[in-house]
Amino acid sequence: MIKNNLIIYLAILIFGLAAPFVFPAFKVQLSILCILIILAITWNVQGGEMGYNTFGNILFYGLGMYLCASVQVGMFFPLGEWTEGGGEKTFVHTPAQFFQGFAFGLAVAAIVPAIVAGLIGYSILGLRGHYFAICTLGLGVAAGEISGGIEIIGAGQGFTTPPFPNVDRLEARGEFFYFCSFIVLIFTFLAVKAIYSTRFKLVLNAIRDNEDKAEAMGIQTMKYKIIGWMISAFFCGLAGGIMGGLVGYIDSTDVAFDGREMGVFMVLMAILGGKGTLWGPVIGATLFHIFKEGFWTFFLGWQYVALGVLIVVIVIYFPEGIMGWLREKYPERFGEVVDEADRKAQVQLK
Protein backbone atom coordinates (compact mmCIF):
# COMPACT_ATOMS: atom_id res chain seq x y z
CA MET A 1 0.00 0.00 0.00
CA ILE A 2 2.76 2.41 0.98
CA LYS A 3 4.70 1.41 -2.11
CA ASN A 4 1.66 2.14 -4.28
CA ASN A 5 1.28 5.57 -2.76
CA LEU A 6 4.93 6.33 -3.34
CA ILE A 7 4.56 5.48 -7.01
CA ILE A 8 1.56 7.79 -7.31
CA TYR A 9 3.40 10.64 -5.61
CA LEU A 10 6.45 10.13 -7.81
CA ALA A 11 4.30 10.08 -10.92
CA ILE A 12 2.62 13.33 -9.93
CA LEU A 13 5.96 14.93 -9.09
CA ILE A 14 7.48 13.93 -12.42
CA PHE A 15 4.38 15.08 -14.27
CA GLY A 16 4.46 18.37 -12.41
CA LEU A 17 8.13 18.98 -13.17
CA ALA A 18 7.83 18.00 -16.81
CA ALA A 19 4.48 19.66 -17.50
CA PRO A 20 5.67 23.17 -18.49
CA PHE A 21 8.06 21.69 -21.05
CA VAL A 22 5.63 19.11 -22.40
CA PHE A 23 2.66 21.47 -22.61
CA PRO A 24 4.27 24.89 -23.00
CA ALA A 25 1.00 26.44 -24.12
CA PHE A 26 -0.75 25.57 -20.86
CA LYS A 27 1.77 27.00 -18.42
CA VAL A 28 -0.49 29.75 -17.11
CA GLN A 29 -3.44 27.38 -16.83
CA LEU A 30 -1.31 24.87 -14.93
CA SER A 31 -0.10 27.57 -12.54
CA ILE A 32 -3.68 28.65 -11.91
CA LEU A 33 -4.57 25.01 -11.31
CA CYS A 34 -1.85 24.80 -8.67
CA ILE A 35 -3.18 27.95 -6.99
CA LEU A 36 -6.73 26.60 -7.07
CA ILE A 37 -5.62 23.33 -5.49
CA ILE A 38 -3.82 25.25 -2.73
CA LEU A 39 -6.94 27.29 -2.05
CA ALA A 40 -9.15 24.20 -1.99
CA ILE A 41 -6.80 22.39 0.39
CA THR A 42 -6.61 25.35 2.75
CA TRP A 43 -10.37 25.85 2.67
CA ASN A 44 -10.73 22.20 3.54
CA VAL A 45 -8.61 22.59 6.69
CA GLN A 46 -11.11 25.18 7.82
CA GLY A 47 -14.41 24.08 6.32
CA GLY A 48 -13.99 20.37 5.94
CA GLU A 49 -12.02 19.26 8.96
CA MET A 50 -13.04 21.91 11.46
CA GLY A 51 -16.61 22.40 10.23
CA TYR A 52 -16.29 26.19 10.16
CA ASN A 53 -17.57 26.96 6.70
CA THR A 54 -15.99 30.21 5.69
CA PHE A 55 -16.44 32.56 2.79
CA GLY A 56 -13.72 34.74 4.24
CA ASN A 57 -10.50 33.02 3.21
CA ILE A 58 -10.59 35.34 0.22
CA LEU A 59 -9.59 38.01 2.75
CA PHE A 60 -6.19 36.36 3.26
CA TYR A 61 -5.80 35.63 -0.41
CA GLY A 62 -6.36 39.26 -1.37
CA LEU A 63 -4.27 40.50 1.53
CA GLY A 64 -1.38 38.31 0.42
CA MET A 65 -1.73 39.55 -3.12
CA TYR A 66 -1.58 43.22 -2.15
CA LEU A 67 1.20 42.70 0.39
CA CYS A 68 3.44 40.75 -1.96
CA ALA A 69 3.14 43.35 -4.71
CA SER A 70 3.51 46.29 -2.30
CA VAL A 71 6.64 44.85 -0.70
CA GLN A 72 8.12 44.01 -4.07
CA VAL A 73 7.65 47.60 -5.21
CA GLY A 74 8.14 49.38 -1.91
CA MET A 75 11.50 47.78 -1.15
CA PHE A 76 13.12 49.68 -4.00
CA PHE A 77 10.85 52.48 -5.16
CA PRO A 78 8.30 54.86 -3.63
CA LEU A 79 5.01 52.98 -3.61
CA GLY A 80 2.80 56.05 -3.92
CA GLU A 81 4.37 57.25 -7.13
CA TRP A 82 4.24 53.75 -8.58
CA THR A 83 0.51 53.41 -8.15
CA GLU A 84 -0.15 57.03 -9.05
CA GLY A 85 -0.04 55.85 -12.65
CA GLY A 86 2.80 55.09 -15.01
CA GLY A 87 5.19 54.23 -12.17
CA GLU A 88 5.97 50.88 -13.67
CA LYS A 89 7.35 52.66 -16.72
CA THR A 90 9.66 55.06 -14.88
CA PHE A 91 10.98 52.61 -12.30
CA VAL A 92 12.37 49.36 -13.64
CA HIS A 93 13.33 46.43 -11.45
CA THR A 94 16.63 44.78 -12.26
CA PRO A 95 16.34 40.96 -12.25
CA ALA A 96 18.08 40.75 -8.87
CA GLN A 97 15.73 43.34 -7.38
CA PHE A 98 12.72 41.59 -8.86
CA PHE A 99 13.50 38.16 -7.43
CA GLN A 100 14.68 39.54 -4.10
CA GLY A 101 11.52 41.61 -3.81
CA PHE A 102 9.31 38.71 -4.80
CA ALA A 103 10.88 36.39 -2.24
CA PHE A 104 10.51 38.96 0.54
CA GLY A 105 7.04 39.78 -0.67
CA LEU A 106 5.97 36.15 -0.49
CA ALA A 107 7.35 35.81 3.01
CA VAL A 108 5.38 38.87 4.13
CA ALA A 109 2.33 37.70 2.18
CA ALA A 110 2.34 34.44 4.10
CA ILE A 111 3.16 35.70 7.58
CA VAL A 112 1.00 38.82 7.83
CA PRO A 113 -2.29 37.10 6.88
CA ALA A 114 -1.52 34.38 9.42
CA ILE A 115 -1.00 37.07 12.08
CA VAL A 116 -4.19 38.82 11.02
CA ALA A 117 -6.05 35.52 11.28
CA GLY A 118 -4.63 35.05 14.75
CA LEU A 119 -5.65 38.54 15.83
CA ILE A 120 -9.22 38.46 14.56
CA GLY A 121 -9.59 34.74 15.22
CA TYR A 122 -10.57 35.09 18.84
CA SER A 123 -13.48 37.38 18.01
CA ILE A 124 -14.71 35.77 14.83
CA LEU A 125 -14.28 32.10 15.69
CA GLY A 126 -16.56 32.49 18.67
CA LEU A 127 -19.40 32.58 16.16
CA ARG A 128 -20.74 29.30 14.94
CA GLY A 129 -22.42 27.77 11.92
CA HIS A 130 -24.19 30.17 9.61
CA TYR A 131 -23.30 33.24 11.68
CA PHE A 132 -19.65 32.46 11.09
CA ALA A 133 -20.31 31.94 7.37
CA ILE A 134 -22.13 35.27 6.98
CA CYS A 135 -19.65 37.13 9.16
CA THR A 136 -16.72 35.97 7.07
CA LEU A 137 -18.63 36.77 3.89
CA GLY A 138 -19.02 40.29 5.29
CA LEU A 139 -15.31 40.48 6.12
CA GLY A 140 -14.32 39.51 2.59
CA VAL A 141 -16.61 42.00 0.91
CA ALA A 142 -15.72 44.78 3.37
CA ALA A 143 -12.00 44.22 2.71
CA GLY A 144 -12.63 44.52 -1.03
CA GLU A 145 -14.69 47.68 -0.68
CA ILE A 146 -12.25 49.33 1.71
CA SER A 147 -9.12 48.47 -0.25
CA GLY A 148 -10.87 49.96 -3.26
CA GLY A 149 -10.80 53.30 -1.45
CA ILE A 150 -7.16 53.36 -0.32
CA GLU A 151 -5.01 55.59 -2.51
CA ILE A 152 -1.55 54.17 -1.92
CA ILE A 153 -2.40 50.73 -3.28
CA GLY A 154 -4.07 52.12 -6.35
CA ALA A 155 -7.65 52.56 -5.09
CA GLY A 156 -10.20 51.95 -7.82
CA GLN A 157 -7.82 52.10 -10.76
CA GLY A 158 -5.84 49.04 -9.73
CA PHE A 159 -2.24 48.19 -9.02
CA THR A 160 0.17 46.99 -11.69
CA THR A 161 2.63 44.49 -10.26
CA PRO A 162 6.27 44.79 -11.35
CA PRO A 163 6.72 43.44 -14.87
CA PHE A 164 8.96 40.42 -15.20
CA PRO A 165 12.55 41.55 -15.82
CA ASN A 166 14.14 41.16 -19.19
CA VAL A 167 16.06 37.93 -19.35
CA ASP A 168 17.13 36.22 -22.53
CA ARG A 169 14.49 33.53 -22.65
CA LEU A 170 10.95 34.42 -23.61
CA GLU A 171 9.48 31.47 -21.75
CA ALA A 172 11.09 32.39 -18.46
CA ARG A 173 8.14 34.30 -16.97
CA GLY A 174 5.66 31.46 -17.34
CA GLU A 175 8.14 28.89 -16.10
CA PHE A 176 9.11 30.97 -13.09
CA PHE A 177 5.52 31.45 -11.92
CA TYR A 178 4.65 27.85 -12.70
CA PHE A 179 7.48 26.49 -10.59
CA CYS A 180 6.69 28.96 -7.80
CA SER A 181 3.12 27.79 -7.62
CA PHE A 182 4.05 24.12 -8.04
CA ILE A 183 6.62 24.25 -5.24
CA VAL A 184 4.18 26.05 -2.96
CA LEU A 185 1.56 23.46 -3.84
CA ILE A 186 3.87 20.57 -2.88
CA PHE A 187 4.85 22.41 0.28
CA THR A 188 1.19 23.00 1.16
CA PHE A 189 0.19 19.43 0.43
CA LEU A 190 3.01 17.91 2.46
CA ALA A 191 2.44 20.32 5.34
CA VAL A 192 -1.28 19.59 5.44
CA LYS A 193 -0.64 15.86 5.09
CA ALA A 194 1.78 16.01 8.01
CA ILE A 195 -0.76 17.94 10.06
CA TYR A 196 -3.49 15.45 9.24
CA SER A 197 -1.48 12.59 10.68
CA THR A 198 -1.21 14.21 14.11
CA ARG A 199 -3.55 14.64 17.04
CA PHE A 200 -4.30 18.11 15.73
CA LYS A 201 -6.55 16.75 13.00
CA LEU A 202 -8.46 14.64 15.51
CA VAL A 203 -9.04 17.75 17.60
CA LEU A 204 -10.32 19.62 14.56
CA ASN A 205 -12.66 16.74 13.76
CA ALA A 206 -13.87 16.69 17.34
CA ILE A 207 -14.67 20.40 17.05
CA ARG A 208 -16.57 19.73 13.84
CA ASP A 209 -18.57 16.86 15.25
CA ASN A 210 -19.52 18.42 18.56
CA GLU A 211 -17.79 21.47 19.87
CA ASP A 212 -19.44 21.51 23.27
CA LYS A 213 -18.46 17.92 23.96
CA ALA A 214 -14.93 18.56 22.75
CA GLU A 215 -14.70 21.42 25.20
CA ALA A 216 -16.11 19.27 27.96
CA MET A 217 -13.39 16.70 27.24
CA GLY A 218 -10.83 19.32 28.16
CA ILE A 219 -9.76 20.45 24.71
CA GLN A 220 -9.08 24.15 24.47
CA THR A 221 -11.19 24.47 21.34
CA MET A 222 -10.54 28.16 20.80
CA LYS A 223 -6.79 27.65 20.68
CA TYR A 224 -7.07 24.92 18.08
CA LYS A 225 -9.59 26.85 16.02
CA ILE A 226 -7.29 29.85 15.85
CA ILE A 227 -4.29 27.71 14.92
CA GLY A 228 -6.37 25.99 12.23
CA TRP A 229 -7.41 29.32 10.79
CA MET A 230 -3.84 30.62 10.89
CA ILE A 231 -2.63 27.63 8.90
CA SER A 232 -5.35 28.30 6.35
CA ALA A 233 -4.42 31.98 6.18
CA PHE A 234 -0.70 31.28 5.80
CA PHE A 235 -1.12 29.22 2.63
CA CYS A 236 -3.91 31.39 1.28
CA GLY A 237 -1.62 34.40 1.53
CA LEU A 238 1.16 32.57 -0.30
CA ALA A 239 -1.23 31.55 -3.08
CA GLY A 240 -2.49 35.11 -3.34
CA GLY A 241 1.02 36.53 -3.58
CA ILE A 242 1.94 34.25 -6.48
CA MET A 243 -1.37 34.83 -8.21
CA GLY A 244 -0.81 38.60 -8.04
CA GLY A 245 2.52 38.26 -9.83
CA LEU A 246 1.02 35.86 -12.34
CA VAL A 247 -1.93 38.05 -13.26
CA GLY A 248 0.22 41.17 -13.29
CA TYR A 249 -2.58 43.50 -12.31
CA ILE A 250 -4.45 43.80 -9.02
CA ASP A 251 -7.92 45.20 -8.77
CA SER A 252 -9.63 45.41 -5.40
CA THR A 253 -12.89 43.65 -6.19
CA ASP A 254 -12.20 41.82 -9.45
CA VAL A 255 -8.85 40.19 -8.75
CA ALA A 256 -7.84 40.40 -5.11
CA PHE A 257 -10.98 40.20 -2.96
CA ASP A 258 -12.95 38.47 -5.65
CA GLY A 259 -15.61 36.87 -3.52
CA ARG A 260 -17.81 36.19 -6.50
CA GLU A 261 -15.15 34.10 -8.25
CA MET A 262 -12.29 32.81 -6.11
CA GLY A 263 -14.20 33.04 -2.85
CA VAL A 264 -16.91 30.73 -4.17
CA PHE A 265 -14.55 28.57 -6.21
CA MET A 266 -12.60 27.42 -3.19
CA VAL A 267 -15.74 26.34 -1.35
CA LEU A 268 -17.14 24.67 -4.43
CA MET A 269 -13.94 22.79 -5.28
CA ALA A 270 -13.61 21.40 -1.78
CA ILE A 271 -17.26 20.32 -1.71
CA LEU A 272 -17.06 18.82 -5.21
CA GLY A 273 -14.05 16.73 -4.27
CA GLY A 274 -15.31 15.81 -0.85
CA LYS A 275 -15.03 17.76 2.38
CA GLY A 276 -12.85 16.43 5.12
CA THR A 277 -10.50 14.34 2.99
CA LEU A 278 -6.92 14.95 1.97
CA TRP A 279 -7.29 14.13 -1.70
CA GLY A 280 -10.83 15.42 -2.17
CA PRO A 281 -9.92 19.09 -2.67
CA VAL A 282 -7.12 18.14 -5.07
CA ILE A 283 -9.45 16.06 -7.23
CA GLY A 284 -12.25 18.60 -6.94
CA ALA A 285 -10.03 21.51 -7.94
CA THR A 286 -8.58 19.63 -10.90
CA LEU A 287 -11.98 18.58 -12.21
CA PHE A 288 -13.41 22.04 -11.61
CA HIS A 289 -10.55 23.73 -13.43
CA ILE A 290 -10.81 21.35 -16.38
CA PHE A 291 -14.55 21.93 -16.52
CA LYS A 292 -14.10 25.66 -16.18
CA GLU A 293 -11.46 26.03 -18.86
CA GLY A 294 -12.92 23.38 -21.15
CA PHE A 295 -16.50 24.55 -21.12
CA TRP A 296 -16.22 28.23 -20.29
CA THR A 297 -15.50 28.97 -23.94
CA PHE A 298 -18.75 27.28 -24.98
CA PHE A 299 -20.70 29.38 -22.49
CA LEU A 300 -18.91 32.53 -23.53
CA GLY A 301 -20.51 35.33 -21.56
CA TRP A 302 -22.76 32.79 -19.84
CA GLN A 303 -20.05 31.43 -17.56
CA TYR A 304 -21.50 32.95 -14.40
CA VAL A 305 -24.88 31.51 -15.24
CA ALA A 306 -23.23 28.12 -15.64
CA LEU A 307 -21.37 28.70 -12.37
CA GLY A 308 -24.59 29.53 -10.53
CA VAL A 309 -26.30 26.42 -11.87
CA LEU A 310 -23.23 24.34 -11.04
CA ILE A 311 -23.22 25.57 -7.43
CA VAL A 312 -26.90 24.77 -6.97
CA VAL A 313 -26.59 21.32 -8.55
CA ILE A 314 -23.47 20.33 -6.60
CA VAL A 315 -24.82 21.61 -3.30
CA ILE A 316 -28.21 19.97 -3.66
CA TYR A 317 -27.43 16.70 -5.37
CA PHE A 318 -23.79 16.08 -4.54
CA PRO A 319 -23.02 17.52 -1.08
CA GLU A 320 -20.75 14.61 -0.12
CA GLY A 321 -18.50 15.08 -3.13
CA ILE A 322 -16.54 12.58 -5.14
CA MET A 323 -14.59 11.16 -2.20
CA GLY A 324 -17.77 10.79 -0.17
CA TRP A 325 -19.39 8.95 -3.03
CA LEU A 326 -16.39 6.64 -3.46
CA ARG A 327 -16.35 6.01 0.25
CA GLU A 328 -19.95 4.89 0.19
CA LYS A 329 -19.30 2.69 -2.82
CA TYR A 330 -16.02 1.09 -1.73
CA PRO A 331 -15.75 1.41 2.05
CA GLU A 332 -13.01 -1.26 2.21
CA ARG A 333 -10.58 0.94 0.33
CA PHE A 334 -10.93 3.59 3.00
CA GLY A 335 -9.97 1.21 5.75
CA GLU A 336 -13.46 0.70 7.06
CA VAL A 337 -14.34 -2.75 8.26
CA VAL A 338 -17.48 -3.89 6.54
CA ASP A 339 -19.64 -6.67 7.82
CA GLU A 340 -20.88 -8.54 4.75
CA ALA A 341 -24.10 -9.72 6.39
CA ASP A 342 -24.87 -6.22 7.61
CA ARG A 343 -24.40 -4.85 4.12
CA LYS A 344 -26.75 -7.43 2.62
CA ALA A 345 -29.36 -6.63 5.19
CA GLN A 346 -29.12 -2.95 4.30
CA VAL A 347 -29.49 -3.68 0.60
CA GLN A 348 -32.58 -5.73 1.34
CA LEU A 349 -34.02 -2.95 3.42
CA LYS A 350 -33.66 -0.55 0.51
Binding site: R128, Y131, G308, V312
Partner: protein, 288 residues
Protein backbone atom coordinates in the same frame (compact mmCIF):
# COMPACT_ATOMS: atom_id res chain seq x y z
CA UNK B 1 -28.77 71.30 9.00
CA UNK B 2 -26.89 68.65 7.09
CA UNK B 3 -27.30 66.49 10.15
CA UNK B 4 -31.05 66.83 10.06
CA UNK B 5 -30.99 66.08 6.36
CA UNK B 6 -28.97 62.92 6.94
CA UNK B 7 -31.24 61.79 9.76
CA UNK B 8 -34.42 62.27 7.73
CA UNK B 9 -32.92 60.61 4.66
CA UNK B 10 -31.73 57.75 6.81
CA UNK B 11 -35.10 57.22 8.44
CA UNK B 12 -36.94 57.13 5.13
CA UNK B 13 -34.32 54.76 3.70
CA UNK B 14 -34.40 52.61 6.80
CA UNK B 15 -38.11 51.94 6.46
CA UNK B 16 -37.38 50.38 3.07
CA UNK B 17 -34.62 48.23 4.57
CA UNK B 18 -37.01 47.13 7.28
CA UNK B 19 -39.48 45.93 4.64
CA UNK B 20 -36.82 43.72 3.03
CA UNK B 21 -35.68 42.51 6.43
CA UNK B 22 -39.24 41.58 7.30
CA UNK B 23 -39.28 39.18 4.34
CA UNK B 24 -35.95 37.77 5.49
CA UNK B 25 -37.23 37.25 9.02
CA UNK B 26 -40.36 35.58 7.69
CA UNK B 27 -38.55 32.93 5.67
CA UNK B 28 -35.85 32.45 8.28
CA UNK B 29 -38.42 31.93 11.00
CA UNK B 30 -40.73 29.69 9.03
CA UNK B 31 -38.40 27.66 6.83
CA UNK B 32 -35.05 28.08 8.59
CA UNK B 33 -33.46 29.36 5.38
CA UNK B 34 -31.02 32.21 4.98
CA UNK B 35 -31.54 33.54 1.52
CA UNK B 36 -28.45 35.20 0.04
CA UNK B 37 -30.44 35.88 -3.13
CA UNK B 38 -32.75 38.24 -1.20
CA UNK B 39 -31.02 41.32 -2.56
CA UNK B 40 -31.13 40.02 -6.10
CA UNK B 41 -34.89 39.51 -5.79
CA UNK B 42 -35.09 43.16 -4.72
CA UNK B 43 -33.13 44.28 -7.77
CA UNK B 44 -35.27 42.12 -10.05
CA UNK B 45 -38.38 43.75 -8.61
CA UNK B 46 -36.77 47.10 -9.30
CA UNK B 47 -36.21 46.23 -12.95
CA UNK B 48 -39.88 45.35 -13.35
CA UNK B 49 -40.83 48.88 -12.27
CA UNK B 50 -38.08 50.31 -14.45
CA UNK B 51 -39.46 48.50 -17.49
CA UNK B 52 -42.93 49.82 -16.84
CA UNK B 53 -41.36 53.27 -16.80
CA UNK B 54 -39.59 52.58 -20.10
CA UNK B 55 -42.89 51.57 -21.70
CA UNK B 56 -44.60 54.72 -20.56
CA UNK B 57 -46.47 53.46 -17.50
CA UNK B 58 -45.89 55.43 -14.34
CA UNK B 59 -43.34 53.47 -12.22
CA UNK B 60 -45.45 54.11 -9.13
CA UNK B 61 -47.75 51.35 -10.34
CA UNK B 62 -44.77 49.04 -10.00
CA UNK B 63 -45.62 48.59 -6.34
CA UNK B 64 -48.76 46.71 -7.47
CA UNK B 65 -47.40 44.85 -10.52
CA UNK B 66 -43.95 43.94 -9.24
CA UNK B 67 -45.05 41.95 -6.16
CA UNK B 68 -47.54 39.96 -8.24
CA UNK B 69 -44.86 38.91 -10.70
CA UNK B 70 -42.28 38.38 -7.97
CA UNK B 71 -44.67 36.12 -6.03
CA UNK B 72 -44.64 33.67 -8.92
CA UNK B 73 -40.89 34.01 -9.36
CA UNK B 74 -40.52 33.15 -5.67
CA UNK B 75 -42.79 30.11 -5.93
CA UNK B 76 -40.84 28.85 -8.96
CA UNK B 77 -37.53 29.26 -7.12
CA UNK B 78 -39.01 27.42 -4.18
CA UNK B 79 -40.19 24.52 -6.34
CA UNK B 80 -36.90 24.23 -8.18
CA UNK B 81 -34.34 24.70 -5.44
CA UNK B 82 -35.45 25.73 -2.00
CA UNK B 83 -37.71 22.78 -1.23
CA UNK B 84 -34.66 20.51 -1.50
CA UNK B 85 -32.69 22.45 1.11
CA UNK B 86 -35.38 23.25 3.68
CA UNK B 87 -34.58 20.46 6.09
CA UNK B 88 -30.84 20.48 5.53
CA UNK B 89 -27.94 22.22 7.19
CA UNK B 90 -28.13 26.02 7.08
CA UNK B 91 -24.81 26.27 5.28
CA UNK B 92 -26.26 24.23 2.41
CA UNK B 93 -29.07 26.76 2.04
CA UNK B 94 -26.61 29.64 2.20
CA UNK B 95 -24.47 28.12 -0.53
CA UNK B 96 -27.41 27.14 -2.71
CA UNK B 97 -28.94 30.60 -2.53
CA UNK B 98 -25.50 32.06 -3.18
CA UNK B 99 -25.57 30.10 -6.43
CA UNK B 100 -29.02 31.49 -7.23
CA UNK B 101 -27.71 34.95 -6.46
CA UNK B 102 -24.83 34.62 -8.94
CA UNK B 103 -27.23 33.21 -11.53
CA UNK B 104 -29.67 36.09 -11.10
CA UNK B 105 -26.94 38.71 -11.16
CA UNK B 106 -25.64 37.49 -14.47
CA UNK B 107 -29.05 36.92 -16.05
CA UNK B 108 -30.08 40.45 -15.10
CA UNK B 109 -26.81 41.72 -16.49
CA UNK B 110 -27.63 40.09 -19.82
CA UNK B 111 -31.25 41.09 -19.89
CA UNK B 112 -30.99 44.69 -18.68
CA UNK B 113 -27.38 45.72 -19.27
CA UNK B 114 -24.75 46.76 -16.76
CA UNK B 115 -25.83 50.40 -16.51
CA UNK B 116 -26.98 52.09 -13.36
CA UNK B 117 -30.61 53.03 -13.99
CA UNK B 118 -33.45 54.71 -12.17
CA UNK B 119 -37.12 55.14 -12.97
CA UNK B 120 -38.07 58.80 -12.86
CA UNK B 121 -41.33 59.18 -10.99
CA UNK B 122 -41.65 62.93 -11.47
CA UNK B 123 -42.93 63.42 -7.93
CA UNK B 124 -40.91 66.56 -7.28
CA UNK B 125 -39.42 67.56 -3.95
CA UNK B 126 -40.55 69.03 -0.68
CA UNK B 127 -38.60 71.76 1.10
CA UNK B 128 -38.72 71.85 4.88
CA UNK B 129 -37.41 74.21 7.57
CA UNK B 130 -36.82 77.31 5.46
CA UNK B 131 -35.54 75.32 2.49
CA UNK B 132 -32.64 73.91 4.46
CA UNK B 133 -33.81 70.31 4.16
CA UNK B 134 -34.70 68.85 0.78
CA UNK B 135 -36.81 65.74 0.67
CA UNK B 136 -37.73 64.13 -2.64
CA UNK B 137 -41.41 63.26 -2.58
CA UNK B 138 -40.54 59.85 -3.98
CA UNK B 139 -38.78 58.99 -0.70
CA UNK B 140 -41.83 59.99 1.31
CA UNK B 141 -43.99 57.98 -1.08
CA UNK B 142 -41.76 54.92 -0.71
CA UNK B 143 -41.74 55.10 3.07
CA UNK B 144 -45.54 55.44 3.09
CA UNK B 145 -46.03 52.48 0.74
CA UNK B 146 -43.61 50.34 2.77
CA UNK B 147 -45.55 51.05 5.94
CA UNK B 148 -48.84 50.24 4.21
CA UNK B 149 -47.51 46.92 2.95
CA UNK B 150 -45.94 46.02 6.30
CA UNK B 151 -49.17 46.74 8.19
CA UNK B 152 -51.18 44.89 5.57
CA UNK B 153 -48.97 41.85 5.92
CA UNK B 154 -49.14 41.88 9.72
CA UNK B 155 -52.93 41.98 9.60
CA UNK B 156 -52.96 39.25 6.97
CA UNK B 157 -50.73 37.03 9.10
CA UNK B 158 -52.99 37.54 12.11
CA UNK B 159 -56.38 37.15 10.48
CA UNK B 160 -56.23 34.99 7.37
CA UNK B 161 -56.24 31.21 7.23
CA UNK B 162 -52.93 31.03 5.37
CA UNK B 163 -51.39 33.45 7.85
CA UNK B 164 -52.42 31.20 10.73
CA UNK B 165 -51.03 28.19 8.89
CA UNK B 166 -47.73 29.99 8.34
CA UNK B 167 -47.48 30.92 12.01
CA UNK B 168 -48.33 27.37 13.05
CA UNK B 169 -45.65 25.96 10.76
CA UNK B 170 -43.12 28.39 12.15
CA UNK B 171 -43.86 27.24 15.68
CA UNK B 172 -43.70 23.54 14.98
CA UNK B 173 -43.70 22.18 11.47
CA UNK B 174 -44.32 18.59 12.52
CA UNK B 175 -47.26 19.36 14.74
CA UNK B 176 -48.74 21.56 12.03
CA UNK B 177 -48.43 18.69 9.57
CA UNK B 178 -50.23 16.34 11.94
CA UNK B 179 -53.04 18.84 12.33
CA UNK B 180 -53.60 18.92 8.60
CA UNK B 181 -51.55 21.90 7.44
CA UNK B 182 -49.99 21.30 4.04
CA UNK B 183 -46.54 22.51 5.03
CA UNK B 184 -45.18 22.19 1.51
CA UNK B 185 -47.78 24.69 0.34
CA UNK B 186 -47.12 26.93 3.32
CA UNK B 187 -43.40 26.98 2.55
CA UNK B 188 -44.06 27.83 -1.09
CA UNK B 189 -46.44 30.62 -0.07
CA UNK B 190 -43.96 31.96 2.48
CA UNK B 191 -41.18 32.12 -0.07
CA UNK B 192 -43.57 33.71 -2.54
CA UNK B 193 -44.65 36.36 -0.02
CA UNK B 194 -41.01 37.08 0.77
CA UNK B 195 -40.26 37.51 -2.93
CA UNK B 196 -43.32 39.75 -3.29
CA UNK B 197 -42.10 41.95 -0.44
CA UNK B 198 -38.74 42.15 -2.19
CA UNK B 199 -40.62 43.12 -5.33
CA UNK B 200 -42.34 46.03 -3.58
CA UNK B 201 -39.07 47.18 -2.05
CA UNK B 202 -37.30 46.88 -5.38
CA UNK B 203 -39.93 48.92 -7.18
CA UNK B 204 -39.60 51.62 -4.53
CA UNK B 205 -35.81 51.54 -4.74
CA UNK B 206 -35.93 51.96 -8.50
CA UNK B 207 -37.99 55.11 -7.99
CA UNK B 208 -36.03 56.64 -5.12
CA UNK B 209 -32.48 55.44 -5.72
CA UNK B 210 -30.74 53.59 -8.50
CA UNK B 211 -30.56 49.92 -9.41
CA UNK B 212 -27.78 47.88 -10.94
CA UNK B 213 -27.55 44.10 -11.52
CA UNK B 214 -24.66 43.65 -9.09
CA UNK B 215 -26.09 45.70 -6.22
CA UNK B 216 -28.01 42.84 -4.61
CA UNK B 217 -25.61 41.53 -1.99
CA UNK B 218 -25.55 44.69 0.17
CA UNK B 219 -29.35 44.46 0.51
CA UNK B 220 -29.06 40.87 1.66
CA UNK B 221 -26.43 41.79 4.23
CA UNK B 222 -28.47 44.75 5.45
CA UNK B 223 -31.57 42.66 5.96
CA UNK B 224 -29.56 39.92 7.67
CA UNK B 225 -28.06 42.49 9.98
CA UNK B 226 -31.43 44.01 10.82
CA UNK B 227 -32.86 40.57 11.60
CA UNK B 228 -30.02 39.56 13.92
CA UNK B 229 -30.20 42.86 15.75
CA UNK B 230 -33.97 42.73 16.14
CA UNK B 231 -34.45 39.01 16.53
CA UNK B 232 -36.87 36.78 14.67
CA UNK B 233 -40.51 37.75 14.91
CA UNK B 234 -39.93 41.08 16.60
CA UNK B 235 -41.66 43.44 14.21
CA UNK B 236 -41.22 46.80 16.00
CA UNK B 237 -37.59 45.81 16.49
CA UNK B 238 -37.17 45.22 12.78
CA UNK B 239 -38.61 48.64 12.00
CA UNK B 240 -36.45 50.36 14.62
CA UNK B 241 -33.19 48.70 13.66
CA UNK B 242 -33.97 49.23 9.98
CA UNK B 243 -34.29 52.96 10.56
CA UNK B 244 -31.19 52.92 12.74
CA UNK B 245 -29.22 51.29 9.96
CA UNK B 246 -30.52 53.84 7.47
CA UNK B 247 -29.33 56.72 9.64
CA UNK B 248 -25.97 55.02 10.24
CA UNK B 249 -25.47 54.63 6.51
CA UNK B 250 -26.29 58.23 5.72
CA UNK B 251 -23.81 59.39 8.35
CA UNK B 252 -21.12 56.98 7.13
CA UNK B 253 -21.69 58.31 3.65
CA UNK B 254 -21.48 61.89 4.89
CA UNK B 255 -18.42 61.47 7.11
CA UNK B 256 -16.30 58.81 5.39
CA UNK B 257 -17.28 59.46 1.80
CA UNK B 258 -19.42 57.53 -0.64
CA UNK B 259 -16.70 55.04 -1.63
CA UNK B 260 -16.71 53.59 1.90
CA UNK B 261 -20.50 53.36 2.21
CA UNK B 262 -20.92 49.69 1.30
CA UNK B 263 -17.71 48.76 3.10
CA UNK B 264 -18.97 50.36 6.29
CA UNK B 265 -22.21 48.38 6.09
CA UNK B 266 -20.30 45.11 5.86
CA UNK B 267 -17.93 46.13 8.66
CA UNK B 268 -20.89 47.05 10.84
CA UNK B 269 -22.25 43.53 10.32
CA UNK B 270 -18.94 42.04 11.49
CA UNK B 271 -18.82 44.38 14.50
CA UNK B 272 -22.39 43.59 15.53
CA UNK B 273 -21.78 39.85 15.31
CA UNK B 274 -18.56 40.12 17.30
CA UNK B 275 -20.27 42.30 19.92
CA UNK B 276 -23.11 39.80 20.30
CA UNK B 277 -20.61 36.96 20.51
CA UNK B 278 -18.67 38.55 23.36
CA UNK B 279 -21.83 39.46 25.19
CA UNK B 280 -23.15 35.93 24.97
CA UNK B 281 -19.86 34.25 25.74
CA UNK B 282 -19.95 35.77 29.20
CA UNK B 283 -22.91 33.50 29.85
CA UNK B 284 -21.07 30.69 28.03
CA UNK B 285 -23.59 30.74 25.23
CA UNK B 286 -23.28 31.41 21.55
CA UNK B 287 -25.45 32.82 18.77
CA UNK B 288 -27.90 30.19 17.61
Amino acid sequence: MLTLQAVLDGLLLGILFALIAYGMALQWGVMNIINIAQGDLVILGGYIAYFMYLYGIHPGWGVIVSPIIMYFVGVVIYKLVINKVVDRDLFISILATFGISILFMQLMNFAFGADVVLANSGYGTTMLFDNSVTLPNSKIFSAFISIVFAIGLVVYMKKSKLGRAIRATAQNARAAKILGVDTEKVYAATFGINAALCGVAGALISITFTIHPYMGLPYTIRSFMIVIVAGLGNLPGVAMSGMGLGVFEEFADYILGTEFRIGSVFLLLVLILVYRRFKLSRKREYLK
